[in-house]
Amino acid sequence: MRFDIVLRVATKFMLAPLLLFALYVQLHGDYGPGGGFQAGVIAAAAIILYGLMVGLGPVQKIVPSALLEVLIPGGVLIYAGVGVVGMLQGGNFLDYNRLAQDAVHGQEWGVFLVEIGVFMTVSSTMIAIFYAFAGRRRS
């Protein structure tokens, strides 16, 4: 696969736009279709594509498994943490109204932060699944 010229060239063209598009989907999720789930999958697709091109070793230098094992629970921690902050501010769990000066801003901040957590967990889980399958040896 490493010497497949079509895959190599096409991948090089697509990698940067893929990551950029993932960011767009992530940040535009408040106003249009998108959000952490979709953006996470797109970003993970970019990494997986790179892994298909260069193999498991080099891609794990960029995104090591140890990093994934922190990011997967880390995203959940961000999500739940935002909810707990809402509780500490005097609201109920996941109440975003009190996160900023008024309720609208609070909701915006809440969703923004929570979606970052979703992005982290979804993208790193997708990559971890890819690593698990790609790393299997025939016994």
């Binding site: 921690l77 739940a80 809402g86 005097g90 109920n92 769990f93 109440d95």
Partner: protein, 493 residues
């Protein structure tokens, strides 16, 4: 301030504990986190119990949204019973888990094991506290996914097949459930269980609702392993790591039973037209089949874990029988049996887990005379077994007594006879274990083993002791179960 957040704290504590255990990536640290989280969770659920007893139903709005728009957590006399049961059993399991996990799980997976245990508990408690049909589905998936992983972590290679089998069946069950929920949403426009119950009353004989009830009932019955939908259960319990088997056997099916009861009584109970579906009659037939056929299958197993697993399928039959009787005494008996069975099956699986730890096998023919070298463990297994039979002086007797009274009250004298008759089968499979363990000459495995360590015996005997205690003085659990039954039969919450 904390008191008002109790309904969400009982889920939040194990969820955050799971995340921290995963981040710690260290076996002992993960265990410590799991233990502390379970202790805090058990304390929170007991506080919740006292609040519900003092104030009645508690409603908690996630994110501050009204029930029509958002997710509402609703705690009443019924689900607080489940919450306390699950969290207390989870705490005891965590105390028990450390030694048995060290022996059964490879070191770099131990932190993940505790993560999955806590996630599973968080999911189970979530199903219990939520008042939202779709939120219950999400928690059902959280607990199920964690369960598949837990089973697959078992030492035996067959654990992978067992986990895969359960994954397929469990996913089908969850899919059927969510189809049913979708149909309800179509008819009522809400996912809140309380609001569904209110709006169903205004809907005239909609066919979609009958289909919804059928989908939901079958989907949940797959999860609670009602005979004949139980095929996934024996392997899953037999090959899971011992401490995971304790948690699953005593809580997972119980929470599914809770969900079934919630739908049958709280949601569909108030609606006459849907009542045309003879779910009660079907449940009685299947329960009786479970009581006899699954218990009979238990008699012919050689692996003690599989005996206990088939016995679980049989015992679930008694609980669903209580639901099907649907009169105050029978329902209270069913719910009491739910609690009692969780305690005694927890003790039994802890005992066999300790035997596996010391003797290295759960095969009955290799365990001859193990009672001589592991007297306390074998005694706990025997007490739990007597409870499964329903011997007077154990909690199993009390709940079966209520069930028989309930059957007589409903005018089913033959059902009362069947309950007694099926207990005779339990005498057979418990008798086999007792005979091999106590009355045979010690075999090689028995001579080579010694008594289990105290940290295994302690939680085991808390559960075994509760089996005896609730058999002699059943006032507290019976009172809770009766309150729960009243809550269910009272119609909408």
């Amino acid at each position: 301030m904390i008191a008002s957040h109790l309904p969400v704290l009982v889920i939040l504590i194990p969820l955050l504990g799971a995340v921290l255990a995963a981040l710690s990536r260290h076996g002992f640290a993960a265990w410590l986190i799991a233990l502390l989280a379970s202790a805090a969770m058990a304390a929170a659920s007991l506080a919740l119990l006292f609040r519900v007893q003092a104030e009645g139903m508690i409603s908690y709005r996630i994110g501050g949204w009204a029930p029509e728009l958002g997710i509402e957590y609703r705690i009443d006399a019924f689900n607080v019973l489940i919450v306390v049961l699950v969290s207390v059993v989870a705490l005891l399991t965590m105390i028990y888990a450390r030694r048995s996990v060290l022996a059964e799980i490879i070191p770099e997976r131990i932190a993940w094991f505790y993560t999955m245990m806590l996630l599973c508990v968080a999911g189970l408690l979530g199903i219990a506290v939520t008042g939202d049909a779709f939120n219950a589905f999400v928690f059902l998936e959280i607990s199920s996914l964690a369960t598949y992983t837990l089973i697959a972590l078992g030492r035996d290679r067959r654990a992978l097949v067992a986990a895969y089998q359960y994954l397929i069946v469990g996913t089908i069950g969850a899919t059927l459930y969510v189809i049913g929920v979708g149909l309800i949403y179509l008819s009522t426009g809400t996912l809140n269980l309380g609001l569904i119950a209110e709006r169903l009353a205004g809907i005239e004989g909609s066919r979609a609702l009958i289909v919804a009830e059928a989908f939901i009932a079958v989907g949940i019955c797959l999860k609670l392993a009602l005979f004949p939908l139980h095929a996934w259960l024996p392997n899953a319990y037999a090959y899971a790591p011992s401490s995971a088997a304790v948690l699953l056997a005593s809580t997972a099916t119980k929470v599914a039973i809770y969900l079934l009861a919630r739908f049958l009584f709280t949601v569909f109970g108030g609606h006459v037209d849907v009542g045309a579906l003879p779910i009660g009659a079907i449940l009685i037939v299947l329960s009786v089949a479970a009581m006899f056929i699954a218990s009979a299958a238990a008699v012919f197993q050689n692996d003690v874990k599989r005996i206990l697993a088939f016995s679980s399928v049989g015992q679930v039959g008694y609980i669903t029988l209580g639901l099907a009787l649907a009169n105050p005494t029978g329902l209270a008996g069913g719910l009491l049996h739910l609690v009692n069975h969780a305690l005694m099956k927890g003790a039994a699986f802890m005992a066999i887990g300790a035997i596996v730890l010391r003797a290295g096998t759960a095969k009955l023919d290799e365990l001859s005379g193990i009672g001589r070298t592991m007297p306390w463990t074998s005694a706990a297994l025997t007490v739990a077994g007597l409870g499964l039979i329903g011997v007077p002086g154990t909690s199993g007797f009390v709940s079966k007594y209520y069930l028989i009274l309930g059957a007589l009250e409903a005018g089913f004298g033959w059902l009362a006879i069947l309950i007694v008759a099926s207990s005779v089968i339990a005498v057979l499979y418990v008798g086999r274990i007792v005979e091999v363990v106590w009355f045979r000459e010690p075999a090689e495995a028995a001579r080579a083993s010694r008594e289990a360590p105290l940290e295994l015996l302690l939680p085991m005997w808390v559960l075994a002791g509760a089996t005896i205690w609730f058999g002699i003085d059943a006032e507290w659990p019976a009172g809770l179960a009766a309150a729960a039954a009243r809550q269910l039969l009272g119609g909408a919450p």
